[in-house]
């Protein structure tokens, strides 16, 4: 029998719980209100790194090359040491500059362990690091790390903790067969044939020429709307090696991607047609984006559906993120482009019509204009049950003079060869779409978004590139790390009050790939259904958490959770497990259900 004190405590606890739920109920009645708040804590957290783009000193038209490679400020989120806290990998790009593996200490501070882990390198004299991706390529339960470069990629195998408890990584690029040169700016991992092993897709900007040792100046886009002389993509199938380890073989042509020769800036994957197989969206600079549907026959082959699904465009596609922003049970796609005084491309919010076609609703939803857009991420930052959208932007913030007039004079010059480095004027200290305010679009729950970046405290004017979203302190509010090229990175901690309730799931594949990438969860709570998929690196220069975070608004309990694993298993959690999910971070293992970490 409980003592009186115990009874009181229990009663107080129930009251507190009720108050919390009541508060959530209030919040949930106001989807997309202007209550979103963030606190920038990068300095205090120890993650205020200043990115340095590659300098091409001494090389012909060095400034032009620098301009076309003005990125590389990437971030990848992943729990590499399986301690239950998402860590950060923050990249740099200039010669000799180290990357930062930031171990999450669990108190919103981080410790740089890149050197001891052996993952700080890669920016050598012949290579420029541009993107990073955590994925468990060998299903050993430890996240491995891919560093994508203008050069050959580096795959670091996570060997786990050494005698000193620090984790060690080994460069296995040669051993796994990742030795092909490419000017890679994007990398995603997903299982193309649902065989339980993660495959790898690389998006390449330039053709495979060494920009650091150029033999010809004709390396730039041959057309600024319809360029077809870019690096396209390469696709790498995860296969067993003779020694029992895993490796990769290129299957780009066989899988149906060989004809894409555009200037790829970003890649995204998801099950666009709800058939259980992962499809692909390619964002192309200087020309059309492309969509490929998985044939779904287990062969890991794809068919291009660009013409019928989205049509051909001439925009400067920068980012691919995927989410069900309108909760209709179909994944939608957000692509950033260039919208500025001199060019009004408008972003694309591809609403999935559910019939193989998509309709761009960026104007209707209010998400069209984000300046010179880069990464964008869907995330429910206030747990109201609707995916919000954070977008970074800005190309180059420098002096008062503007590069655009000089550039346009070049463009309209009769007979100009756009592919020739020599055609472009030097940028010197000029700005180009710089000093642009970031946009935080709060999902209003009625098919529209409202920019609340200023009110939320995230409307910085830095030259943003990547966004890593995660609940770094496991408090149920999503935080994010923002990288900026040639400028300091920022860490924004979620500080929104009166938020809704939430559920956070970390899925562990058994028959499916260990990271559960491609797994789809449909969660039902309070009469609403919420759809989310685990993705392997969607978003420009970004990888966000692979946990699935659901805001459920005022719902005080989860009613149902259905998990569709890439293996084909459809798992419905039993009621007692469902009851334990609300306002918690939970691990779920394929075929088992809830498990401890």
């Amino acid at each position: 029998m409980a003592s009186g004190l115990g009874m009181w405590r229990a009663g107080f606890g129930l009251m507190a719980c009720w108050l919390a739920l009541a508060s959530a109920a209030w919040a949930a009645e106001m989807p997309g209100s202007e209550r979103l708040k963030f606190e920038e804590i990068g300095e205090r957290a120890g993650v205020r790194f200043v990115h340095s783009p590659r300098k091409f000193s001494g090389q012909h038209k060095a400034q032009v090359l620098e301009m076309f490679t003005y990125g590389g400020a990437a971030v990848a989120v992943g729990d590499y040491n399986n301690d239950g806290f998402d860590d950060l990998f923050v990249m740099d790009s200039d010669t000799g500059k180290p990357h930062h593996l930031m171990r999450n200490n669990g108190d919103m501070t981080f410790t740089d362990v890149a050197e001891s882990a052996g993952v700080a390198g890669g920016n050598d004299t012949q290579s420029i690091c541009a993107d990073a991706l955590w994925f468990d390529y060998n299903n050993d339960g430890r996240l491995d790390l891919l560093v994508a470069r203008f050069g050959t990629p580096i795959l670091y195998r996570n060997d786990g903790p050494g005698p000193d408890i620090n984790y060690r990584f080994t460069d296995v690029s040669q051993a796994v067969g990742l030795t092909k040169f490419g000017n890679t700016v994007a990398a995603i991992a997903f299982d193309i044939d649902n065989d339980g092993w993660l495959d790898l897709m690389l998006g390449n900007y330039f053709q495979p020429v060494n920009l650091l040792d150029l033999k010809t100046p004709h390396v730039l886009p041959n057309n600024l709307d319809y360029a077809d002389n870019g690096g396209g993509v390469t696709l790498w199938h995860n296969v067993p090696l003779a020694n029992g380890e895993r490796g990769f073989v290129e299957v780009t042509e066989a899988a149906g991607f060989g004809r894409h020769t555009g200037w790829t800036l970003d890649l995204g994957h998801g099950d666009f047609n709800n058939d259980g197989w992962q499809d692909v969206y390619i964002a192309g600079d200087y020309g059309t984006d492309r969509m490929f549907l998985n044939k779904g026959d287990g062969t890991g082959t794809f068919m291009e559906v660009t013409e019928t699904a989205i049509g051909y465009d001439t925009r400067k596609g920068m980012n691919v993120d995927i989410g069900d922003y309108d909760r209709d049970g179909w994944l939608d796609i957000y692509v950033t482009n260039i919208t500025d005084e001199y060019m009004k491309e408008c972003n694309m919010l591809w609403h999935n019509n559910g019939d193989g076609t998509f309709t761009d609703l960026s104007k209707e939803t209010g998400t069209c204009d984000t300046g010179w857009g880069w990464a964008a991420k869907f995330a429910d930052f206030d747990n109201d049950g609707w995916e919000d959208l954070f977008v970074v932007n800005g190309l180059r913030s420098a002096g008062e003079r503007n590069y655009i007039p000089a550039l346009v004079e070049m463009i309209i010059k009769p007979g100009v060869d756009f592919s020739d480095l020599n055609s472009y004027p030097d940028i010197e200290d000029m700005s180009w779409s710089g000093y642009q305010k970031k946009r935080l679009f709060s999902n209003m729950g009625d098919g529209t978004f409202k920019d609340v970046a200023a009110e939320a405290g995230v409307d910085t004017a830095l030259d943003g590139r990547g966004i890593g979203v995660a609940d770094f302190d496991n408090d149920g509010l999503l935080d994010f790390y923002q990288t900026n090229t040639n400028q300091p990175a920022l860490l924004f901690r979620g500080r929104t009050e009166n938020t809704g309730n939430w559920v956070e799931l970390k899925l562990i594949g058994t028959k499916s790939n260990r990271d559960a990438i491609g797994t789809r969860v449909v969660l039902t709570a309070g009469g609403n259904s919420y759809l989310s998929e685990v993705n392997g690196g969607n978003g420009y220069a970004s990888q966000s958490t692979t946990r699935l975070h659901f805001g459920v608004g005022s719902a005080s309990a989860v009613d149902r959770v259905e998990i569709r694993w890439p293996s084909g298993l459809v798992q419905t959690l039993p009621p007692e497990q469902v009851a334990a999910l609300i306002n918690k971070f939970t691990y779920i293992r394929e075929g088992e259900g809830l498990v401890k970490r």
Binding site: D225, G287, K316, E341, Y342, I411
Partner: protein, 293 residues
């Protein structure tokens, strides 16, 4: 539309009295009829034949281009451009052929990507300039000045727009007042809006409204506060948006020939005629073709 045909025939006869003009007009009418029954391929071919017979005919070119816009296919825009390019190559002294070539490039802009749009717009400007080099005209000045307005202020073309539009206004003041002349005043005010001089813009529009009290668009411009006006004009001048290149107001508005070059002769007004439909048409309402030479 038969009354138009009758008017045009009469006007053409009055103007040229030549067999070639009659042939051109006949071909033009056949093209118009083909357009009315949606036989666009035949229409385009007939328009082209009419223009080959009368290359400086602004109206023929206008209807030809507008048929292309109605079809709205890239290959048709390309066909129009290619046709006018050949036309100006064959008739380099025909200013209206150059104007139509410029308009053909403008017509294609919405079908293209942002960078190609810049190239098309710039090429069009070049052709408008050639037309003006051949012959000073209200239409040339207005068109080129208005084209500069579509370039964001950052490119420094707004001053050039002001120079052209001021000249267009001056030219219009030398002739009888016509409703379409209000466009140059509107554009001039919009140029000052581009330069963030809203006071000057509104002053010009107010003066214009006194001159053109029936103009429908001036009150819209004058009736908005700064914020609304900025939004309105920003949307209006959005790059890539289809620009209305239909210049038929020049001959549908009144009998004015103010758009013609300064050396052009204003044709004698033909006598009113009775068209087959029984509608009485006054030549001050239905205008002659855009023949400038």
């Amino acid at each position: 539309m038969r009354w138009i045909a009758a008017v045009v025939v009469t006007a053409a006869l009055g103007l040229f009295g030549s067999a070639q003009a009659q042939e051109a007009e006949s071909l033009f009418q056949e093209a118009v009829q083909a357009t009315q029954v949606a036989d666009y391929e035949a229409a385009l071919t007939k328009f082209e034949a009419a223009l080959q017979a009368d290359p400086n005919n602004l109206r023929y070119g206008n209807e030809y281009r507008l048929t292309g816009v109605k079809i709205n296919q890239v290959k048709t825009y390309d066909r129009c451009i290619a046709f006018f390019k050949q036309l100006v190559a064959d008739h380099p002294k025909a200013p209206n052929a150059w104007m139509n070539l410029g308009y053909a490039y403008v017509d294609k802009i919405p079908t293209e990507g942002a960078i190609t749009q810049v190239l098309l717009a710039n090429t069009a400007l070049g052709h408008f300039s050639t037309a003006l080099d051949l012959e000073e005209s209200w239409l040339g000045r207005y068109t080129r000045g208005n084209s500069y307005l579509y370039w964001p202020a950052i490119f420094g073309r707004t001053r050039w727009a002001i120079a052209d539009l001021e000249k267009a206004v001056a030219l219009s003041q030398e002739t009888d007042k016509r409703n379409y002349q209000a466009r140059a005043y509107r554009g001039l005010g919009e140029a000052y809006w581009r330069l963030n001089d809203l006071e000057k813009a509104r002053q010009i529009w107010r003066e214009a409204l006194e001159l053109f009290p029936d103009d429908k668009e001036l009150p819209v411009l004058l009736g908005q506060d700064d914020k609304a006006l900025n939004a309105f004009l920003t949307a209006h001048f959005e790059p890539g948006k289809r620009v209305d290149t239909n210049v038929s107001a020049l001959w549908e508005d009144t009998a004015s020939q103010a758009w013609l070059g300064q050396d052009d002769k204003v044709p004698p007004a033909p006598a009113p005629i009775q068209v087959e439909t029984g509608r009485h048409v006054d030549t001050t309402e239905g205008e002659i073709s855009g023949k400038a030479n």
